[in-house]
């Protein structure tokens, strides 16, 4: 399994990389850690004429606090997110989700930006980022723009990134007080990708009332999505096992589930409810300071 030939460029700065993607448009692919792009190129499902390697732009690898949010550089690896003390303290859901990706070697190499730009429908991060309602920053020679994550995933392997743009940063709001979040996933046993993965975030008010909820689902359909019907069924209600079970029934509402060798559409739909309920229960326990 050898990729088709391509021309290789390793720009020294993001600006240089942006000029190259602008010049080559559709004929170019951005290479970060390579753990989404290279498998496609080896299968010849992708045969870009130009490969622009931004993997050495170490300035794009960081996790830091900035104006009340946490900014994560696109080239930050899954291993760096998994082990970040800042994220473990202020947004443990992201560290927990990163730890659920692939295996040690994959996490050492794969990057947040590469994972999101690739938009695999079974990737783990999208569920967490949707539940957290993050912002994605896209750079171009014209400047940077911010895309709400809810508008980022358009379809299977398709995002709102425009030609000439490079995903440069993800902005996460730290979890508010009395908030808990959890990621629960049914992995495909061979690849570790999510057959279904659900991330839930719950903010509790007085007397256990659910003041805010965010639920992101991956693996179920052609793109990760926010389960708005579940969130609606939770907001303003008093948290209980019954309300979680009832709300989780809406997890697959409005979605045409994928079906493959590993899981039928009906099975995926059922598992979306089961894993939504589990994620809600664990998020609730954490919001109360347990688990």
């Amino acid at each position: 399994m050898i990729p088709a030939p391509f021309e290789y460029a390793a720009p020294k700065t993001l600006e240089e990389a942006l000029r190259l993607v602008e010049r080559h448009g559709d004929e170019a692919k951005i290479l970060a850690g390579g753990h989404s792009l290279l498998p496609l190129m080896k299968l010849r499902l992708a045969q870009p004429r130009y490969v622009i390697d931004i993997g050495r732009l170490r300035g794009m690898s960081y996790i830091r606090e900035e104006n009340g949010h946490i900014a994560i550089g696109a080239l930050t690896t899954h291993a760096e997110i998994e082990s970040s003390n800042l994220l473990r303290a202020k947004c443990p859901l992201l560290a927990e989700t990163a730890a659920a990706i692939g295996d040690v070697q994959v996490r050492n190499r794969g990057t947040l930006g590469g994972n999101l730009a690739h938009a695999d429908p079974a990737a783990d991060y999208p569920a967490a980022l949707l539940a957290l309602d993050v912002e994605i920053v896209a750079a171009s020679t014209a400047g940077a723009r911010t895309i709400p994550v809810n508008e980022f995933f358009l379809d299977m392997l398709t995002t709102a990134l425009r030609p000439g743009e490079i995903l440069s940063q993800v902005r996460v709001t730290p979890l508010a007080a009395h908030t808990g979040a959890a990621y629960e996933k049914l992995p495909q046993p061979a690849s570790g990708f999510a057959i279904v993965g659900v991330a839930a975030r719950l903010r509790l008010g007085k007397g256990g009332k659910i003041e805010d909820a965010g639920v992101g689902v991956t693996g179920l359909g052609p793109k990760a999505f926010r389960a708005e019907a579940v969130e609606k069924a939770l907001r303003g209600k008093k948290a209980s096992d019954k309300i979680f079970t009832d709300a989780a029934r809406y997890a697959a509402q409005g979605v045409e589930p994928l079906a493959d060798l590993h899981a039928s559409a009906d099975y995926r739909r059922e598992m979306a409810s089961v894993y939504t309920r589990r994620a809600l229960k664990r998020a609730f326990a954490r919001a109360q300071g347990k688990a």
Partner: protein, 164 residues
């Protein structure tokens, strides 16, 4: 189309003109002749091709050789130079796999050993579940893993006693 790369592999510097599409595992095996790194699934699942790239394990079937330019690589051939050996030329983890029968056919072994080395650096005293978790990116079709886990535990003990 060709690209120039400079790498240090097992402490030795190399400069090569290669095609950009050349995978790191093919560079190590075919250009440098270091055939201790094995090619298994070629889909970044099995871990047979695991090497240390700047001290971290990677699956060298899913890294282009050009991506490794400027980096330091350790393959199974260079491992024994990285730790005090018992005079037998083997790294303590290699010795432990031998002692505890952590291999049968040996195909997955170089990758298993390098993944174990990374684990023991970060966690010198891992529990069995931690060992299994750390090696979940390495598949073995012979041993049923039990002896591999025991070998890693044995290596941890050996490395601790040698440090004293």
């Amino acid at each position: 189309m060709s690209a120039e790369i400079q790498v240090r592999v097992n402490g030795k510097s190399y400069e090569s003109q290669i095609e950009p599409r050349l995978l790191l595992v093919h560079y190590l095996r075919d250009v440098l002749g270091l055939t201790g790194t094995h090619i298994g699934c070629e889909t970044s699942l099995c871990g047979a091709c695991t090497v240390l790239l700047d001290g971290k394990t990677v699956k060298s079937c899913t890294v282009l050789a050009v991506q490794a330019s400027g980096s330091e690589i350790t393959t199974i051939e260079g491992l024994s130079a990285q730790a005090p050996t018992n005079g037998n030329g083997l790294h303590p983890v290699q010795e432990a796999f031998w002692e505890k029968h952590g291999l049968q056919c040996g195909y997955c072994t170089p990758g298993m050993i390098l993944a174990s080395v990374e684990l023991l650096r970060a966690n010198p005293n891992p529990s069995q579940p931690e060992i299994r978790h750390a090696l979940s990116g390495n598949l073995c079709r012979c041993t049923g893993y039990q002896h591999i886990v025991q070998a890693v535990e044995f290596a941890a003990k050996k490395m601790k006693s040698r440090k004293r």
